[in-house]
Subunit: 418 residues, 4 copies
């Protein structure tokens, strides 16, 4: 396959292919193979959608069996056995053991669709139009979600002023205490100019913002502010849910119960397009079809998602994530952070960032990694954070090999800078 | 599978399951089977996403083979063999033979995402914020697309005022000539209060609006107005593209060349989540990643979509659609329209509407069809249009059987009314 | 006074001085005098704010007496004798004899402020955000009013997209019947894309739009549509109220009772900044101070406005306007319209337009009038309508002299065109 | 005059009359008289519009002379002698001696109109839509200005979501340094979610916010941030300009030069409706008439404003304000602040606030002052700040008498609380 087919016909909007300029063919576990037979260790993880690795056998068999049997594939929101089995697994194996009671909406198969559905419902329930989002956040690219999303590059694409959203400082900007105090202040000050919002939307770890994990104190504080003011708390767990941080929901660790939760990416199990909007039962004031979408009932995604839940529980993915996360944490602290005073390493579970402060350095490190056989992406302010997001079930030896490559790349780039 | 699992845990937003209250299991060609073993003829077609029927063998084999070989499934916008093969097929078998030159954007796997991408690009290219849409249109449910979408029920869900869109009368409301004249007038009148838009977005057949096919004269007229005024013409071919009207693009018949085309639903071949935004090469001023989305590179969708193109050409789906469309047209004209003076039948290719003017009647007909073993949905003003949208490759005998059921249902309901 | 003081220090936004490039000093009745001692007949009338002519003695004496006695001048919305006397006169001499029951709001001393207040209250009462305005309308230049105002030049100044307003075709564009039918259609069609508005805002004569008087049938029709749909009808009588059309309120002739009425310009009697927002008592759900403004209680304006009402009634201004209007109508019909086939004359009472279809022609006529000693402005599409708006108490001989000058100017310009 | 005329016919929106429930007749200097012959010391000052006191003889004579001579009163933006004389005085006596070079726009006779004009021009110049305002600010009640205005009561009246404005913390909320740092941070952070604005709009003393004077350091800091980022700095000097703080422009003390300045209230000299929008000459890219308004050329206002400038310079109003301000400052510090630990006094020049923290207390103090013959208003958070804003030329003995009344009222109310 000549790359010319892409450069000629595919829009200039394409991006990852510019970072990884090769044609991929096979993928298994934590390894990717290109058409030249070269193999790459995957620390990119499909932008967070492949927590169980590429093509896990358990899910693959289920998908093939489902296809072979001519089971219904495309069903919108009709009732199907596959959807019923997913719901059962999700309620019985995920929600109930954690003490959560949520209704499930299948809002369409993308994260941004799930966010849009949550925003609609929050506005409908509260009869307010405004929403608070945090600086550093990313919530999607359709117009409603985009108004939340904080990076200038994404926002510039809107082509219209983005409204009905107010951005609050993230806790790492001026400290946890200030971040909470600021929100409380603008809500209580009758001259803040900021109208009471329908909802506060947060990620517990800002991934695109540069891998910042929020403290449990902050999370509990923001929940309390929301409760005290009759504002809905929405957690966008699209990237760091599905066990990425070491617990299925990233907020489990804080003991909070959001009013709504948005899931996508790895909830699809196999990289299948899938998304969920969860909310407390008393918020379920939707009228039938008030939000819809053609692909909200892809049954292959239901099958894969149900299998993903099985894997999570049966293979104790959460515990494995905690254990592997410690390996990464130790490695970065001991072997990467010391390479230069300007380097900061941050993370939780199996999402980590190496912040090198300058865009050009991060770009060179990313390229050096690719050249050495490791795939990863950049994130954060100035795109200066090298983001590590391996599969949650990556074999230890592959994990360690990949980490070594990254360390070497960082060392090399900083050495070259002199 | 007890339906209680859905009524307890799935949000009240679910809708088709209320019209078709059973649990589906298998699907093949134009037949659906529920868990009680009952079989239904499918005139619903997954809301237009299953033009090749359920689980066509040619695509099914390709999907299973792709899965079995551990080919890469989830690839965002990296280069892959599957994507390259889709692009080649689409350019060489669809675009070039028709004389179109379009760049391809994979904007995310849903129609609304493709519309949002088109709106962003149109606004970026023209530096204008407004867009014209037509009364009766449906373009999606995320905030940018929703501002276009015309039905009050969908709009009410927004929770914020929907802006930057002006609705123009559809040609069937006051006639083709008036519809064109009105648009030209508001553009030329320096006191119309309506600012020049970035784009005019149309469907050539308004499906959700109640199955209204626009004349070639109207389509050519609106293209001319757009050209004369430096406004981009965007055709949303999500529901009636992919040969539904008898030509691959629904606008082929009019000899127009939109500046942008939006495709989804049946372009995915097998009901797989997939969408495309096409635009003339000189409009491709996107910066890398300016619009993105996690599931914009599902390779199963690429594989299925490529196979769908093969089917289209190799099995002469367009011609088959024209032939079957004539069967439907003849049948409705001769056997359904005469059942009551209030009935209107409208359509093109294999999308047809039986407009019975009253919501309650349409609801009863739809329910009677379900009871008699035919699945179809309603659309249009007051939801009073019974919509027929069978697979484009439905066997003649199944088509005729389904039509007979529909005629009987209509007759029965009108007879009961007295 | 050297004009350089203005061209050096006053913003380029200045406009009328470009049409009338001289420095004015005195003004009395229908005559203006510049610093060179040249006298002009005034058919411009301060853009409609001087219905009783310049510096009428009756009001002048009252103003000077008020000033001499050190009565309170600036009072916001405190209670004062002058305000009380205005209210009494307005209620007893204007509203009650006509059978209207309105509460009075003093929203600030400009028309646009009065419109903004009306919009706020209409939205508050109905809990809806949208408003209908008519193509061709002008309602002011602050952001809320500007969203209504229809001419592209004014709208371009906004610098932000103007929302929450939908423009309906004016009756002269496609006929009365169509204009009404169109509004009714978009309100009743559940797929029009146009949400039910809080209010319909109209002028009964579009002055800035090019001097189009709406028929009584249209006015009654739009009132009925508003009533049938629970929408408030707001009449903006800023330019054509205060007897301009031959009745104090311009809508008196049609027998309608708007829910709200907005007045400014000549209500101030002496060209004093003044405006009123009137509404039916049951709509008065304002909380104290919810809309305010520093200059909402200028007592000189109250005094002048009260005197203006005295003049209206005591000097039978309405009847005089009708009589003089007939003179203008006859003259234009007999002596101006026949000058060229392209000329249209339109008007009512003492507001008339000579539509010459081309901007350049109108500009030349306006300039020729100025050179010959008559001041008037242009309006309408392409600014091609020469607008005649003399004082309502202009002496007949001055009126006729001015008309003669205008006829000569039109004749001259058309003759020069050949 | 019976108050029933107002309670029956004037809208419930009326407000000051509720605080001062009597009918006023005469006004001179710092004294108001009601129809019962009772006299009040005026510390309210027409909400800041009467810096030279009520009906100053110098201006009164000029107004009467102007009226007596039948000079032109209403002139829109035509050239007149009165306007020329105002411009000359303003340029030569105010701007040039201070080293400022501004073009003058007459945007209409209200402060909010002047703000709307400034916003339009800032957006036009920068081609950006957003604007920064400060928490605690007040900039007017028409839709564009209202989006800036920060108090919830005013904002709630909008009836539509207010957009295109972001509120920054005021310096007194978290300190000067933080306030500046916060603005710089959100501008420099590429993930702040806050797009670069067209302008930063500030008051140097937030009057309605509760009488908070900003430090010179803050003012210089915000000017520097604006300059560094290509953002226009707009100072709204409507309430605290015209010498209120001891210098003609309130920002003179800080040595900054805003890109635009907005003036109204006391610039009208005699309480006449008047407003100015000033901007650096290179920003004057208005097209003729792009912003307009009927009452932008009231010549009585021009005359009074010119005389106000004469008074300012000839009677050394600035120095007098500084001297009298010291009297107030000393008095409040020594005699009012010590009355209770909860009391804060704040101010500059002749604008002062007594912050008693609780709405009910402030209301009682205001009422007690009225009963004892002093008129003043409340402002700020919870309306808990008693605002002192006497005329700038108030005789010392009246000033001291009024202060004594206020002290007694405060003492009495706190004593009653126990």
């Amino acid at each position: 396959m000549d790359q010319g087919i892409f450069t000629t016909y595919e829009s200039e909007v394409r991006s990852y292919c510019r970072t990884f300029p090769t044609v991929f063919t096979k993928a298994k576990g934590s390894l990717l193979t290109d058409q030249d037979g070269r193999t790459y260790i995957d620390f990119f993880n499909g932008a967070g959608a492949l927590n169980y690795g590429h093509n896990p056998e358990y899910i693959k068999r289920a998908l093939i069996d489902y296809l072979e049997s001519d089971n219904i594939i495309h069903a919108l929101d009709m009732y199907t056995v596959a959807k019923g089995e997913f719901i059962e697994a999700f309620e019985n194996r995920i929600l109930k053991p954690r003490g959560y009671s949520y209704k499930i909406q299948f809002p369409g198969p993308t994260g941004t669709n799930a966010v849009e559905a949550a925003l609609k419902l929050a506005r409908k329930v509260t009869k307010r139009t405004g929403v608070f989002a945090l600086m550093g956040c990313f919530h999607g690219m359709t117009l409603g979600s985009l108004a939340l999303t904080s990076d200038l590059g994404s926002r510039a694409g809107a082509g219209v002023p983005l409204g009905n959203v107010t951005h609050m400082p993230a806790p790492y900007m001026f400290g946890d205490e200030f971040a909470l105090n600021y929100v409380r202040t603008v809500l209580e000050d009758d001259h803040s100019g900021i109208d009471k919002p329908a909802a506060i939307v947060i990620e517990t770890v800002q991934a695109e913002g540069g891998v910042y994990a929020f403290s449990n104190e902050y999370l509990r504080g923001i929940e309390k502010i929301a409760r005290d003011n009759g504002i809905l708390l929405i957690v966008d767990d699209i990237q760091v849910g599905a066990s990425r941080t070491g617990t299925f929901f990233s907020f489990d660790r804080a003991g909070i119960t959001p009013d709504m939760v948005v899931l996508s990416k790895s909830i699809g199990g196999y990289g299948m397009p899938f998304a969920l909007t969860l909310f407390k039962p008393d918020l379920d004031i939707w009228t039938p079809g008030e939000h819809n979408g053609t692909f909200r009932g892809n049954q292959l995604s239901m099958v894969a998602a149900k299998c993903g839940i099985d894997l999570t529980i049966d293979q104790q993915v959460e515990a494995g994530t905690v254990r592997r996360g410690q390996i990464v944490s130790d490695f970065l602290t001991r072997e990467v952070a010391p390479l230069d005073d300007s380097i900061q390493v941050r993370g939780l579970g199996l999402i980590w960032g190496i912040d090198v402060a300058e865009e050009e350095l991060a770009q060179k490190i990313s390229r050096a990694c690719f050249d050495k056989g490791v795939i990863l992406e950049r994130a954060g302010r100035k795109n200066a954070v090298v983001k590590l997001m391996p599969s949650l079930v990556i074999p230890d030896e592959v994990l360690v090999e990949g980490l070594g490559v990254i360390r070497d790349a960082v060392a090399e780039v900083f050495a070259a800078r002199g």
